[in-house]
């Protein structure tokens, strides 16, 4: 059953991705991207990553869709159709994919309970969460305590994005246009 859901959701993701690639309507693409996130959230639940799924749904399908729509109202709706097909991007992507597929050969099988990643560190995390930290959600324990420093960094990343958006869009457009004509001081 789990396997079946998995396959179906992955198929759905594939179709959505192709649709995003081919559509020239940016509004549609945005909506599809939101759908892509939502579908992947479902898949993530199926893969036992409930926290991640929660976040992906809220961020991918929520905030980032809103931001994209906001951008579209400020820009334009349609993507220009360009006829020329260039080989170089295609080949680059193909090479990347081929490399990754090559890498899968020696990967542990999907769902393998004896994967090396599970043998090291994880058992200590589970035991530590139970005995030392004593909270049920292992992900929270790792996120906020064992790897809490990463999370501090992550918060700083969000803050950085805020700083950037404020710097770029923090003022009315007219102010920016006025500022754009400024020349450096010649004498001060």
């Amino acid at each position: 059953m789990e396997l079946l859901i998995n396959v179906v959701l992955l198929g759905l993701l594939g179709i959505t991705a192709i649709a995003i690639l081919t559509t020239r309507h940016l509004f549609v693409a945005t909506m599809l991207a939101g759908g892509y996130s939502l579908t992947s959230a479902a898949l993530l639940v199926n893969l036992d990553a409930v926290d991640v799924a929660f976040t992906e749904a809220a961020v991918g399908a929520g905030i980032s869709t809103v931001l994209m729509l906001g951008t579209l109202t400020l820009t334009r709706r349609r993507e220009k159709v360009k006829k020329d097909f260039r080989w170089s991007p295609f080949l680059v992507v193909l090479a990347t994919g081929a490399l990754l597929v090559y890498g899968t050969v020696d990967m542990p099988a999907f769902g393998d309970p004896n994967a090396p990643a599970l043998q090291h560190i994880v058992p200590e995390y589970i035991a530590g969460t139970r005995d030392d930290i004593q909270i049920p959600n292992i992900v929270t324990a790792v996120l906020a305590s064992y790897r809490g420093y990463d999370t501090l960094g992550e918060t700083a990343v969000i803050f950085t994005a805020g700083v950037g958006v404020l710097l770029l869009l923090g003022r009315r457009r007219e102010e920016d246009e006025e500022a754009g004509t400024r020349r450096p001081e010649r004498d001060a």
Partner: protein
């Protein structure tokens, strides 16, 4: 053969998804579309990470007191961080797009290139012999 497929199909499809996302980024000229591509690319990487943590028959890593097999929580933690980084990048990228549209009146890279070529020509105009 089937066994190999079952062991790896998740990764292979995810790789295809990643390729699609990356292709949108490198091949499409629309600035918003590129950001969407970036999102698809990154989301697919997230799935790749989470897939590697999945344990067949495991459950979400939340202690319930019973003796259970948990899926690997570390990729979950990493990806939570990565999602945040992703949305931060998206927000900033889209802010650039808004400003570019205001400055160039376009969000297509070829049109912007043309405009920049004119800027460049203007830079050179005052060039002394």
């Amino acid at each position: 053969m089937l066994e190999l497929f079952l062991a790896k199909y998740n990764y292979w499809i995810v790789i295809l998804l990643m390729m699609t996302g990356l292709y949108i980024v490198v091949a499409r000229g629309n600035l918003v579309k590129k950001i969407i591509g970036l999102n698809v690319f990154q989301t697919s990487v997230f799935i790749l990470y989470i897939s590697m943590g999945k344990v067949a028959g495991g459950t979400a890593p939340i202690l319930t007191g019973r003796d259970e097999i948990f899926s690997n929580p570390i990729p979950h933690v990493l990806i939570l961080t990565a999602i945040v980084v992703g949305i931060a990048t998206t927000a900033l990228g889209l802010a650039f797009v808004v400003r570019i549209r205001e400055a160039y009146d376009s969000i297509e890279d070829d049109e912007i290139d043309d405009a920049e070529k004119q800027d460049m020509a203007r830079d050179l105009e005052g060039r002394l012999p």
